[in-house]
């Protein structure tokens, strides 16, 4: 069995504002092995980005609060190490690619400087060497090295995302988190960027957490998938588990909302209703109000997680061994 590189245990994060307490992530468990790639899927506001930022330890410190849990990375709890130690990990062993490349680069520094910055931070090398490494990185992600001194406003969205990928991979991290790396890009560029991430990940044996709301991307790039809803992981397993043996009604709903060429359906079946207000989550199963299989039991108590086959976890009463959901 491969080495476990990341282990999230019972993580819960809240955002506290003047008006309300928002429960963004509610006691999730996740683990990732070396070289493995995990797709984190869910609607906007499901807590995907918050989970990622918790791993990076970059939650906004004014409003966000980690209520419970541990995040073990290479055996150390990232939440409890010193700030200096956290900085050592960030950008070096754990990197993140952000959602919107248009705003993620500093407009007043040249892209070369921005790539060089992360290299100089984590390596004891001269500026000259760092510059060479930065140019190498630019070429690796498909940007001409001569553009080292150009500024972000001189690049297109897709090229900026390449710069950001170069920054994220410059120190050869063992874990890469990509937060919807393609949503802000044109469709044609999307595939290019995804392939680039997948290729570099293969070459460097990097573990990957890919955050997306697109199941198709997960099927293409990931081995495992976790389906998030209202800050909880509803279903977790290998891509085969999720796609071929879909167990959670929410996952089912997600599949129902995507057009599929192989199946003959007259119309898409969207999930009815809206995601719950995270400031006032329902009791019991968070998905119950929108679930077509919901029973009174669903809203009564916290739903346990069932392992329906090795490595395939489902948080739904219907997955209980006895299958009692329909009867009562």
């Amino acid at each position: 069995m491969a080495k476990t590189i990341l282990e999230i245990k019972d993580l819960a994060v809240q955002y506290v504002t003047d008006e309300a307490v928002v429960e963004a992530v509610n006691h999730i468990d996740l683990s990732l092995e070396q070289g493995e790639s995990l797709g984190l899927v869910g609607e906007t506001g499901a807590g995907k980005t918050t989970t990622a930022l918790s791993v990076m330890q970059l939650l906004p410190d004014v409003s966000a609060r980690i209520v419970s849990g541990e995040i073990y990375f290479e055996g150390e709890d990232l939440i409890r190490i010193s700030p200096a130690k956290k900085r050592e990990y960030r950008g070096n062993k754990v990197s993140m690619i952000f959602q919107d490349p248009m705003t993620a680069l500093n407009p007043t520094l040249s892209v070369g400087d921005q790539i060089m910055e992360v290299i100089l931070l984590h390596n004891r090398i001269s500026r000259e060497e760092a510059k060479n490494r930065a140019v190498e990185m630019m070429e690796l992600v498909g940007l001409p090295g001569e553009r080292f001194n150009d500024y972000p406003h001189q690049f297109s969205g897709g090229m900026k995302q390449r710069v950001i990928i170069a920054i994220a991979l410059a120190c050869r991290p063992s874990l890469l988190i990509a937060d919807e790396p393609t949503t802000a890009l044109d469709v044609t560029i999307q595939a290019q960027v995804l392939h680039l991430i997948a290729r570099l990940k293969e070459e460097e044996q990097t573990s990957l957490i890919l955050i997306t709301h697109d199941l198709g991307i997960v099927a293409e790039t990931c081995q495992k998938a976790a389906i998030m809803y209202a800050g909880e992981i509803m279903e977790y397993g290998t891509v085969e588990h999720i796609f071929n043996n879909t167990a959670h009604p929410y996952t089912e709903g997600l599949f129902g909302s995507i057009p599929n060429l192989n199946r003959k359906v007259s119309r898409l079946t969207p999930i009815p209703g809206l995601a719950p207000d995270p400031a006032a989550l329902p009791r019991g199963c968070k998905f119950a109000p929108r679930c077509r299989y919901a029973t009174p039991a669903c809203s009564e108590a916290e739903v346990p997680v069932y392992e329906i086959e090795p490595g395939h976890l489902v948080k739904c009463l219907r997955a209980a061994p006895e299958g009692r959901s329909g009867d009562e």
Partner: protein
């Protein structure tokens, strides 16, 4: 870049012409006969006629204005002060160094205090420091500076005897006027730094910088402050221009012979050539400060820099936006 500067210098000309026209018009319609005021009641009608002749005060409004502008443009002569009989240019040149020194010292101190306090306030939003600094800066903006000058004299020179109350000879004399003049600038700069920094700190690229493992201090200085500088530079330029135009009332209170006091006295005495010359001079200084501000933008922001390098019609628009 050179082309941009030349273009901006050319654009100053209509503004300056407009300034002279506005001032000339106001002064023309100011009641009272300068000949009467200057020469006094004892002068004969012939004396007054001679005075008017000498100072180009005969003829219609248009004639007078054209005569005045001819002298200014062709001979570079701003006229003669009614009261001292000295050339206006000499009067201004004699006073300007004092005003310039005072403005320079004040703006320098104001920048240091304002930017440091603003950055700390923004990085520790809602902390005790932030509340106190914001409160003080709002008081600073609200202080009438002539009153602040008077209170400074009462407290620091009458009661405590630390600093002299008037004059501008030794550095010790500079302290009270510089504090008085610098307070509102420091407050303005602090407020702008704070709000600009708060906006920048929320940007995605700050998160990117942190995700690299960069130290917080470097994130603030290298990534945040640099991007927050444009509006700060604007405010600094605006305040420096204001101070160079003479901290009008403060100079009077501390009896400092600078441009501001010169202008107040000239307006009160209806010393038209001096008022016109002085305002024109101040307007030129302000235009230059604005030009320097625009050039500084280019150093800070590569986007503006490339606009200046390749002058398109959008270059001016971009500047307008950052000003507004």
């Amino acid at each position: 870049m050179i082309r941009f500067i030349i273009k901006r210098l050319l654009m100053m000309i209509p503004v300056l012409l407009g300034v002279t026209l506005v001032v000339f018009t106001i002064m023309y319609f100011t009641p009272g006969d300068p000949a009467q005021i200057i020469l006094g009641d004892m002068a004969t009608e012939e004396d007054r006629e001679l005075f008017r002749e000498e100072h180009g005060l005969n003829g219609s409004f248009v004639e007078q204005y054209i005569n005045y502008m001819k002298r200014v443009i062709v001979e570079g002569d701003l006229g003669t002060s009614y009261t001292t009989k000295m050339s206006v240019t000499k009067e201004i040149v004699a006073r300007f160094p004092t005003t310039f020194k005072l403005a320079g010292v004040s703006i320098l101190i104001a920048c240091i205090i304002g930017i440091v306090a603003g950055v700390i306030s923004a990085t520790r939003q809602y902390s005790v420091f932030d509340h106190v600094a914001t409160g003080i800066s709002l008081i600073g903006v609200s202080l009438p500076n002539f009153w602040q000058g008077m209170m400074n004299i009462i407290v620091f020179s009458v009661w405590l005897g630390w600093f002299p109350p008037s004059g501008f000879s030794t550095p010790k004399h500079w302290v009270l006027p510089a504090i008085t003049i610098g307070t509102s600038s420091a407050a303005n700069i602090m407020r702008m730094t704070r709000s600009s920094m708060l906006e920048v700190i929320r940007q995605d690229y700050i998160r990117t910088a942190r995700s690299k493992g960069q130290k917080e201090g470097v994130v603030i200085r290298r990534h945040a402050l640099r991007n927050a500088l444009i509006p700060i530079i604007t405010v600094v330029g605006l305040n420096f221009g204001k101070l160079l135009g003479g901290a009008v009332l403060t100079e009077s209170i501390f009896s400092i012979a600078g441009i501001g006091k010169l202008m107040v006295d000239a307006i009160k005495a209806k010393n038209t050539p001096l008022v016109q010359g002085g305002v024109l001079f101040i307007a030129v200084v302000m235009c230059f400060v604005n030009l320097i501000v625009d050039i500084l933008y280019a150093f800070v922001d590569p986007k503006i820099r490339s606009q200046y390098m390749a002058p398109r019609r959008t270059a001016y628009k971009g500047k307008e936006e950052t000003n507004g």
